[in-house]
Amino acid sequence: MINIKNLHKSFGDLEVLKGIDLEVEQGKVIVLIGPSGSGKTTFLRCLNLLEVPTDGTIEIDQKLMEFKKTVSKRSITSFRSLTGMVFQNYNLFPHKTAVENVMEGPIIVKNIPKQKAKETAKALLTKVGLGDKVDFYPFQLSGGQQQRVGIARALAMEPKVMLFDEPTSALDPELVGDVLQVMKDLAKEERMTMVVVTHEMRFARDVADEVIFMDEGKIMERGTPEQIFTNPKEERTRRFLNMIQ
């Protein structure tokens, strides 16, 4: 489903991603961990092309992007539609209700008739447990509810891959569970291919097919959750896990 080769990203002189290779099969869930500044967010943003990589290739759903040459805006927009992004701080549209947030993409980008888009949006909101909150504005929702609207908004565009950047790290602890549950259902029931940056170890153990430890812009170690959490090979992985546990 995803095939990344030799991905590089620099901001000016600062090289943040130093050659990343990764393959993800259809329906798999990858959890990405690593210290602050290691490039996890940058990596996800490169998959969504919110940052354009400086070198390497990304293939998603048999569509290939090469970054050696400059890429056109149009190809960025169409490639971006393969992935859905869930942001750490939700980034809901504050001037639109929950259902309007979810409808916006289908109506404006996909030209789906408003009434149909609304039905689909309501169904999606019901699926993430917010069937009774469709007409609420973001400020009337808790962080956990907002984040679930964010997930529904991304799903409404029917992406092939969902990207999550620390989706629960801005939430009060008691609100984390609902969001993780929605993500778990998405993985187990819909067999959605997902790349998740999170330090929720329980989620990783329960849901991830593979855990990847990133450090200084490189993949340091990868393996099953069991392998990484109980028996990491690299010293640095061990140190990092000790630190966060």
Binding site: L50, M85, P94, R153
Partner: protein, 248 residues
């Protein structure tokens, strides 16, 4: 020197005379009647010129302002420069001078415009420059995450701008833009100096005939004040409406 020393006493005398106006029923009636008969031409001036001039120039100015703000924010250098120079010139010169250049100056180049058209051009350019700074600041105040959320659901720059950023920027810029609008309404009185027959020019014309300067200029001021008060009330309503999606 001597005069200023005496002035407190002078003031008292004047106040006495003023109070005399109120105690002199005949003079009182005369003033009321002048105020009444001049009200019609002044309101006519307001309806035919002041209000249309304000509305038309505000709309044209806003369009110009949005374009200027977008030019300033664009990545195309030449657009940025044009926008900067335009804003700098308009903000750095008096509106009255701009109006004089357009109305009295351009004929030297063979471009003769009628007073109303000159006023529309002058005021639109002015509103365009001032409002562009307001709109630019409002656009910049919208978090980058809003653009990115738009992009992430597949929007283009134009779609994200129109659907996500501008509506939010509009909310932010409504209070300062309302102030621009109210200032514009008052500034249209400057158009009297390029012969537009708006309300204040009507007041000047009537006063030139009957010498009741104080009365007529106060009357003109009162009409401006009433219009501005109505605008402030409307402004409040609009702000309430736009605030509906923000935590109280």
């Amino acid at each position: 020197m001597v005069r200023t020393q005496k002035s407190p006493k002078n003031g008292l005398v004047k106040m006495f005379l003023l109070s005399n106006i109120f105690s002199d029923p005949e003079r009182m009636n005369q003033l009321v009647s002048i105020a009444q008969t001049s009200l019609y031409p002044m309101v006519e001036g307001a309806i035919k010129y002041t209000i249309p001039l304000t509305l038309i120039t505000f709309v044209l100015g806003l369009i110009l302002a949005v374009l200027t703000a977008l030019a300033r924010l664009s990545s195309i250098k030449i657009l940025q420069i044009i926008a900067r120079v335009y804003v700098s010139i308009i903000r750095g010169t008096p509106l009255l001078v701009q109006l004089f250049i357009i109305f009295y100056g351009l004929p030297n180049l063979g471009i003769t415009l009628n007073p109303f058209i000159s006023a529309i051009i002058g005021f639109s350019l002015s509103v365009g420059a001032y409002a562009s700074e307001i709109i630019r600041a409002a656009i910049l105040s919208i978090p980058k995450g809003q653009w990115e959320a738009g992009y992430s659901i597949g929007m283009t720059y134009t779609q994200a701008l129109k659907r996500i950023v501008l509506p939010q920027a509009a909310r932010v810029s409504i209070p300062p833009l309302s102030n621009t609008f109210i200032s514009l309404l008052k500034d249209t009185s400057l158009a009297s100096l390029i012969l537009v027959a708006e309300m204040f020019r009507k007041a000047q014309e009537i006063a030139a005939k009957n010498y009741e300067f104080l009365l007529l200029y106060i009357e003109a001021g009162a009409i401006y004040w009433i219009m501005c008060t109505v605008l402030s009330i409307i402004q409040g309503r609009i702000e309430d409406k736009l605030n509906r999606y923000v935590a109280k």
